[in-house]
Symmetry: C2
Subunit: 323 residues, 2 copies
């Protein structure tokens, strides 16, 4: 089993997804959303978790897509909530169609995720459904916290980490655990897989935040500085507010208060404060800490060593996009 | 087993539903929505379908709530889509909180419906999940059609009936079928229960439309004439457009075109056209036809005769609200 083969399995199965044809404006947005691409990290994690214990991943590829379809549903609704005009460089669904369509197509997409779970073998279905429900609720809780924190004056580091754990990390944890569950892995291995996914999710989200400020457009492929312009309370901002000296605190508070500014000036100004008070390093260390926790769990896992290597290589590959 | 006992079981179990406490603005709207009341028709149908074959409905009350929670999720999102300021005489969730909260709370509420399905015995879970998914998708399709028909110039009777079948009737069909499934009823009985629920759903929706025009405020408890004011393409309007003479067609077209009018004048004007061209009678006959189909299926059903009587009485009780 090679990584490319797992990846091809996912792509083939996504290509096979059938949507009803009518009403068109309910189903076209779903196909559009899934067609925008993405790295398909979550279903790949399901197959990797499974492949640790069994070597016939084609048997569970349909079930694995549940996490990808669910993820795309959350993106469709989050884009409405965040008023995001673009998704992967293309118009978001509520822009291309309208908000009502994005709401209802998203709802249907969530149900489609549950439909894909129908492919889970009956003996694993009760656990799969329970774990999926728990994860799905947590993702919504995370999104609600994220929105609340926009209005909340002060957000602590702990609150922020809990928010990204729920909004991002638990779905990666569920993906790996689902793979283990479907392969018949024991409870201990399943919980380790979940833990591994959560550490990875934390590391990925913190890297994303890090690069939003410190990346360069060429390799990161996104507009740099968006979080700074939006006063997003990331770990960087939270740490800077907590750790900078009084002069930098005042400068930072000033930038946060400004309503009219030159974008690049604000980005450069805030970035220089971040560097001075050492939050670039703090953020980097936090990411490394989650990564090394993840690698520690990976090492202690039971299962096929060649797949463990594959998981480790995949993590480095995902990281390269980043550094 | 009495009807009152089944109803009390539902109310008790709804009272027991636990919601997480944080984030508050994710969970309060769910409790608010369920607290607005309603007749709890759908979970009652689950218990009635079950009680035909088994006499321990308390065993499945939690599972039965899945349909009530799902129904309330659809109301929360539909109120956004329909821009409805009120729900059961109280501010709708997007009015009381805001649209983002209504979207995300609704999402979480749908997941809660799936969580309640975790209470289904493992041997019935694959079927219950499959049937629930199918029904849930159909409800969304129906809602999308309903929205599309607002923009569509002409809607046929067949299109309208298919829309209300999906939007309203299939969930009643699923509710009765779920009851039968959980009681171990055979495939034939399950399909009959589904059919019964669909006929009932059609009859109820058509009665609702009928009373929106021909009811009286005192007994119907809703504002009369809302569909007429909104040019809603109900069976009444569709039939009137198809059947009225050229003079009435012209009068009707005129009312539909008017942008400024006195509400009561329009209601009275359109109503008199409806009466003249006989659509009051047509609508009434259509309702009776679905009812008699429902009663026919009910009579042919296997199961406890005293529960069949109870179902029949319940239908008459629901109808009384109406006539």
């Amino acid at each position: 089993m090679t990584f490319e083969r797992l990846s091809a399995l996912i792509d083939k199965e996504i290509g096979r997804l059938q949507f009803n044809s009518r009403p068109e404006n309910l189903y076209e947005p779903m196909a559009y959303m899934l067609g925008l691409g993405g790295k398909r990290i979550r279903p790949l994690l399901v197959l990797l978790g499974y492949s640790l214990f069994k070597n016939d991943p084609e048997k569970i590829t349909k079930s694995a897509l549940a996490v990808e379809v669910f993820h795309n549903f959350t993106l469709m609704h989050d884009d409405i909530l965040d008023k995001a005009p673009l998704r992967r460089g293309q118009p978001s669904v509520h822009e291309k169609w309208n908000e009502s369509t994005a709401i209802l197509s998203g709802d249907t997409m969530m149900i489609r995720a549950y439909e894909l779970l129908e492919n889970v073998a009956p003996e694993y279905l009760p656990s799969a459904l329970r774990l999926f429900n728990q994860c799905a609720v947590e993702v919504c809780e995370g999104q609600q916290m994220d929105m609340n924190y926009e209005q909340q004056e002060e957000v602590s580091e702990q609150e922020y980490l809990e928010m990204i754990r729920l909004k991002t990390a638990v779905l990666l944890g569920f993906s790996l655990q689902l793979g283990g569950l479907l392969a018949g892995a024991n409870e201990k291995s399943q919980l380790q897989l979940r833990e591994l996914g959560i550490y990875l999710g934390m590391a990925f989200q913190l890297m994303d935040d890090h690069l939003d400020t410190f990346g360069n457009t060429g390799t990161f492929g996104k507009h740099i500085g968006g979080d700074i312009l939006a006063n997003k309370k990331t770990l960087l901002l939270i740490s800077a507010l907590a750790l900078s000296n009084s002069e930098n605190q005042a400068r930072l508070a000033d930038w946060l208060r400004q309503i009219t500014f030159n974008d690049q000036d604000k980005i450069d100004g805030v970035k220089s404060i971040y560097k001075e008070c050492g939050v670039e390093k703090i953020s980097h260390e936090k990411i490394q800490s989650y990564e090394s926790h993840a690698l520690g769990v990976l090492k202690s896992l039971d299962g096929d060593e060649s797949i463990k290597d594959m998981i480790e290589k995949y993590l480095y590959k995902l990281k390269q996009r980043v550094e």
